[in-house]
């Protein structure tokens, strides 16, 4: 009796996956999306690279200086679902993304789909990059392909059942992929630019916003602080009622790493500031303005 029930439930689930796989297009990137893209601008691609914080997860653990451009992967994310390992995204054709087409890259960045059409785990923050301008993603593609190739193979994620069933992510994506911007209230032009940097590229919400049961960030508590995903303590809130620093103080902190009382940043924020310091001053000012206008 139970065996039959389990068998039919498994068959139904398997059938469901097949159905969804058949219904979801293999490549969500259409020819018309690709047709409007200009050739990659590598200078802008580098800016998107640092704003997006790619090196923080995809460079080798502890990499410094030029080594942060060797995107061998390796950062581990211990979560309640198991451990995720950031993969090799260097230009290596075998271990990295050297053989990916630009359309495959856009599909991964903005639709969370691997080159084989299967969903990617949202530990890779495509829910943020999804909001980015496709031309910025094309420029990033060009920049990544210009960086050194590294042959180190990516480490497989080490996840618990049922989270190790990748097609189940079709359901997750159906629920959370279309979330859009978290802040929809009217913003100044500068804060709109900051919103793009914070929400679409720098994915600050991944740590500064609490998550729901299935790991999606909670837009209802956007940037209101959350438990530290990589250890004890909390990631602080950034809303103006909690973060009372002036706009200039926030922008300066993102450049030199010092709080208004000249304490220094700690934890993963140190690495974030290494990226932010490479941006232009008006980008840091825009981020600060957006934080000051947060609801």
């Amino acid at each position: 009796m139970w065996k039959k029930l389990i068998l039919s439930a498994s068959l139904a689930a398997f059938g469901g996956f097949l159905l969804i796989w058949a219904v979801f297009p293999r490549s969500p990137i259409t020819a018309s999306t690709m047709a409007v893209l200009a050739d990659p601008n590598l200078e802008n691609g580098a800016r998107v690279f640092w704003a997006g914080g790619c090196a923080s997860c995809h460079a080798a653990n502890g990499a410094k200086g030029e080594a942060r451009l060797i995107l061998t992967g390796g950062r581990a994310f211990e979560t309640e679902f198991g451990t995720f390992y950031a993969p090799n995204i260097s230009a290596d054709a075998n271990a990295g993304i050297g053989s990916w087409t630009m359309a495959q890259f856009l599909s991964a960045m903005q639709h969370g789909r691997g080159p084989n059409g299967l969903p990617l785990y949202p530990a890779f923050p495509y829910t943020a990059y999804r909001l980015a301008d496709p031309q910025d993603m094309a420029d990033l593609y060009g920049y990544l392909q210009s960086l050194p190739a590294d042959p180190s193979l990516s480490r497989d994620h080490d996840l618990t059942f049922p989270f190790n069933i990748r097609p189940a992510l079709f359901f997750w994506q159906a629920l959370y992929l279309e979330q859009g911007y978290a802040v929809t209230a009217p913003l100044s032009d500068e804060a709109l630019r900051g919103r793009y940097l914070v929400e679409a590229l720098a994915h600050c919400g991944e740590c500064h916003t609490p998550r729901g049961a299935l790991g999606a960030v909670d837009h209802g508590a956007w940037l209101r602080g959350a438990p530290n995903p990589s250890g004890q303590g909390r990631i602080p809130p950034l809303t103006p009622d909690e973060l009372t620093w002036s706009k200039d103080e926030i922008a300066a902190y993102l450049n030199d790493g010092f709080t208004p009382s000249f304490d220094s940043a700690g934890g993963h924020m140190v690495d974030v500031i290494r990226n932010m310091a490479i941006l232009q001053p008006d980008d840091r000012a825009a981020i600060a303005q957006y934080l000051k206008e947060l609801p």
Binding site: N228, G231, Q232, F262, S264, G266, G267, V270, D271
Partner: protein
Amino acid sequence: MTFSASFTIKSTLLAAALAVACLPAFANEGAIGARQGQFKIMALNIGVLGSMARGTVEYDAAQAQIAADNLAAISQLNQAFNWPEGSDMMAATTNRALPAIWENQDDFLAKWAAFGTAATGLQAAAGNGLEAMQAALGPVGGSCGACHDAYRQPQ
């Protein structure tokens, strides 16, 4: 052995164990306070230089030199007594020292030494104009970050 004798021995042992458990806790409180004071003095002096570097305060060579001299002097403090075992973040609520410090003591001390190198460089440059000071302050900030990245809990 009678019950009461056994009880007495047990309570004596318990009292001794408690005393051993409590003594380092008191000692650690002193160490935690001392090292936090050390970092506050660092922050105060970095603030003098950082405000000039940010342009919120006008550069003053003499003031910059005093701050840089202070930082260089602090960097020479031997850290031997500031980080006793059992003084990690579990020991006090205001304390954010990660247990990794005691698992990687050589690396931790190497990072303190790196602050010393950067502070010595700053001491040599701080009085030589705003740009020279700014350039030398960067590595000092980097040495703060390098250690806090690995060994300090976010909040």
